[in-house]
């Protein structure tokens, strides 16, 4: 497979996953605030959604206050912000366009459709008027695209590069959401055990689509169990461990080396990361601190991404050349 094509597939999927996660995050925030009338009055209620991105500097330079409108616009329609849904979908579509002949036509058509829906002039009003429907549609369109790929694309090299991109992005997003939300929710001792507390934890689970699956495993909401679930669960497809394990499988499928043979740089990077997830226990994580543990995971993920780039896509891809600059990690 052409390096450029592999690169585009990888990034197309990363961007789609990123857009979906953002849509989910906003959706769960909206739901949470419906249950928290007092918090609705709080001018900083939407601030965590900016903190998650790590781009508060950009936000504070370009927006006045953390109003719902501002934060939603920032995450959804801000073309100058490279992680906004509209920027992600534009980049995903550019990448898809450059590999149209590789991906199933239906997949391209749906990516194109999703993009066209967002760039339509009326979509800003739609998001303001019926936000639940608006973000749900984005989420469902992303699921549809992933589903089309899953069931109509040969599970060969192109597919494995797609998986690699999607799963690494998802692991990154889960770790970020957990990191920020945990930090915000936890210190307010007075809330522990209160309904407010459980509403917020529930929202955290919802923002990673994991509430129902979590309940099946742990029933009761507890911060430790939530961390355990989102980091270490073997079976839940958005847990960090699940994502890394399957990303590693995709990598071994691409490289053709037998699973578990760590004879190159990327394999070793993956090995370290899976090792950390396989051989750590939730109690140890709680002991060193959730934030520190997640920080390490994130820096390992960045390391893996950069080695993937060096190994497979030494040449630049389409979206890198265009005016929006480099592809954003």
């Amino acid at each position: 497979m052409l390096s450029r094509v592999a690169n585009s597939l990888y990034w197309m999927n990363r961007y789609l996953e990123r857009a979906e996660n953002t849509a989910r995050l906003i959706e769960s925030q909206l739901h949470m605030l419906l249950d928290l009338p007092t918090m609705r009055q709080d001018p900083n209620a939407w601030k965590p959604l900016v903190d998650i991105t790590g781009d508060y500097q950009y936000f504070s330079e370009n927006y006045k206050g953390y109003s719902r409108e501002n934060v939603m616009f920032f995450h959804t329609f801000d073309r100058n912000y490279p992680h906004s849904i509209i920027s992600c979908l534009t980049a995903a579509r550019e990448n898809a366009r450059s590999v149209r002949e590789i991906i199933p036509s239906e997949m391209w058509e749906n990516i194109n459709n999703l993009y066209l829906t967002i760039v339509e002039p009326g979509s800003i009003q739609d998001a303001a008027k019926t936000p639940y429907k608006f973000y749900l549609n984005i989420k469902m369109a992303c699921h549809l695209i992933t589903g089309i790929a899953y069931s109509t694309m040969s599970h060969g090299e192109a597919w494995n590069f797609s998986e690699l991109g999607r799963l690494l992005e998802r692991a990154d997003k889960t770790s970020r959401i957990l990191d920020v939300k945990y930090f915000i929710i936890l210190p307010r001792i007075d809330y522990v055990g209160s309904s407010l507390d459980s509403v917020q934890w529930t929202a955290l689970l919802k923002s990673t689509s994991s509430l129902e699956m979590y309940r099946k495993r742990f029933n009761l909401i507890s911060s430790k169990n939530i961390v355990d679930f989102l980091v270490f669960d073997r079976e839940f497809p958005r847990s960090i461990r699940y994502c890394i394990y399957h990303a590693e499988r995709a990598f071994f499928n691409i490289s053709g080396t037998p699973f578990g043979v760590y004879d190159n740089d990327l394999a070793r990077q993956f090995g370290k990361l899976t090792g950390k997830l396989n051989y750590s226990h939730i109690d140890e994580v709680m002991a060193v601190g959730v934030h520190q543990f997640l920080d390490e995971i994130q820096s390992d993920l960045n390391q893996v991404s950069s080695v993937i780039h060096d190994n497979f896509f030494a040449i630049k891809s389409v979206a890198e050349i265009n005016q929006s600059g480099v592809q954003i990690q």
Binding site: M1, S3, R97, I315
Partner: protein, 489 residues
């Protein structure tokens, strides 16, 4: 909406000889449309447009800030060519492409046509499409123009003329295939009732044409379509053809020449490529030979090509045969190489290089179309009857400055086909570009691209100048009156 009041006016109309009198080949379609309820046609039109948008069948317009891609405007009323006309077109186009290929081979090698005094050496060498770098070159199987598009027009009397030849990667065939796909959804019952020749196998035939260029001993050849990238106006087509053929779509940056062999950069290292269907102009192909500033091309590819390590379609240098000044000599060229008279006539063409012809063009400029000898896309042309005095004066200055670069043609009153305008039909001018593949033999795709000038009275059909397209139906055999009625959808 119906055709009851449709007026063909004083033009050759492809549908009606006079109001209410359809030609036999369109009778069934006209009857069908006349039977429609009020909103039926509008609904079909809407769903056809939605299908185009979703499929992303687009083209790019240069110098337009309004976003990068546009949907190619499409009219759901097809253009129908009867079997007798098609037979004539097909024979004429085959003859023409066959002769042009012999001409290119001759020009870059023995130059017999010059030695025999049919064309002057200076005239040929002064063409900007002439590639000195191709002298002495013998491409595989001596084929130069593997893919060509011959633009045809019909004058007031219904006679077909060749308006121009396109031998440098003509684009548009993806619209032909896309149009057909949408039209089959739009008019299923009409398709069932008419013997319309299929065009689906174009991609397969193109792949065979390319495969023909390499020895059969290479069992799994790598074939690539070389595109300038997603910002090129025809990118959709490049990617579409690659997908349909199941071959690799490559950009210049994906290719590298080592020891005169061309390789693709892959995730598993370098892999040899055997045939390149290049959709990049000669000038950008190889910065070491042509334009040194080109970032689109592949350094060293021409050397590899000359050594026979990679095949290219169309061959570099093939553009010499579609220089619009050389075009005026194509009837002589056909006669010279095949001994036959040209089946399809040229539009009378005045070469401004020649003093007498130039004067004629300048004296009658308000009745002439003036074009540059090697432009395309309708850029920089003048249409006498629709131009201002100032535009005419500017053009005359251009001609006097660079006479070799201009030709003049009397205005042809292109034939018309009805299009939907709001709630009724109006006639609009059309041309026809059949696509020709030169492989083991010469194949003409039945139909081709019908471009239509959507602006009222306009004679310019180029997509970059507000033109649209129509699906072109070629009938397998001509209609005999029957009592068959069209069934409902």
């Amino acid at each position: 909406m119906n055709f009851d009041t449709y007026d063909p006016e004083n033009f050759f109309d492809e549908f009606f000889t006079e109001t209410g009198k359809p030609r036999p080949e369109v009778e069934k379609l006209v009857a069908r449309i006349n039977s429609f309820g009020k909103s039926d046609l509008a609904t079909r039109r809407k769903s056809a447009n939605a299908a185009f948008k979703q499929m992303g069948i687009t083209f790019g317009v240069y110098g337009d800030n309004q976003g990068l891609e546009k949907i190619f405007p499409f009219d759901i009323i097809p253009r129908i060519v009867n079997a007798r006309d098609w037979d004539f077109i097909e024979r004429g186009v085959k003859q023409r492409v066959h002769a042009l290929n012999l001409f290119i081979q001759d020009i870059y090698n023995d130059q017999k046509i010059i030695k025999d005094g049919v064309l002057s050496r200076e005239f040929i060498l002064s063409s900007v499409a002439y590639r000195k770098e191709c002298e002495g070159l013998n491409p595989p199987k001596n084929i130069w123009c593997h893919v060509s598009g011959i633009d045809l027009v019909r004058d007031r009397d219904g006679q077909f003329y060749v308006l121009e030849d396109n031998l440098r990667c003509p684009s548009g065939v993806s619209y032909v295939l896309g149009n057909r796909r949408v039209m089959k959804q739009t008019w299923p019952a009409v398709f069932e009732a008419l013997p319309i020749r299929p065009i689906d196998d174009y991609a397969g035939r193109l792949a065979e044409t390319l495969r023909h260029l390499i020895p059969e001993s290479i069992l799994k050849p790598n074939i690539g379509i070389l595109t300038p990238g997603i910002y090129n106006s025809a990118y959709f087509e490049h990617s579409f053809l690659a997908q349909q053929m199941g071959e690799e779509l490559v950009e210049g940056q994906d290719l590298v020449v080592m020891d005169d062999v061309v390789y693709m950069r892959t995730t598993k290292g370098f892999e040899r490529i055997h045939v390149i269907y290049r959709r990049i102009d000669d000038e950008f192909l190889d910065p070491t030979v042509f334009n040194p500033d080109s970032l689109l091309g592949v350094p060293g590819i021409m050397k590899s090509y000359r050594k026979g390590k990679v095949a290219m379609a169309n061959a570099p240098g093939a553009g010499i045969a579609d220089d619009k000044a050389i075009y005026s000599f194509v009837p002589e060229i056909i006669k010279y190489y095949t001994g036959e008279d040209a089946i399809l006539p040229n539009v009378p063409t005045y070469v401004c290089e020649d003093a007498k012809q130039r004067q004629h063009v300048i004296d009658n400029i308000e009745n002439f179309v003036v074009k540059t000898a090697h432009g395309s896309g309708g850029y920089g042309m003048l249409i006498g009857p629709f131009s201002t005095k100032k535009e005419q004066k500017d053009m005359i200055n251009n001609i006097l400055r660079e006479p070799r670069n201009y030709i003049g043609q009397p205005v042809i009153q292109l034939s018309r086909v009805p299009v939907i305008v709001k709630d009724h039909f109006e006639g609009r001018h059309v041309d026809l570009r059949p696509y020709v593949l030169y492989g083991k033999d010469i194949y003409v795709l039945p139909g081709g691209l019908t471009r239509v000038a959507l602006k009222k009275n306009s004679l310019v059909v180029n997509s970059s100048q507000g033109g649209g397209s129509k699906d072109t139906w070629v009938l397998e055999q001509d209609m005999i009156k029957t009592n068959n009625r069209l069934t409902d959808v």
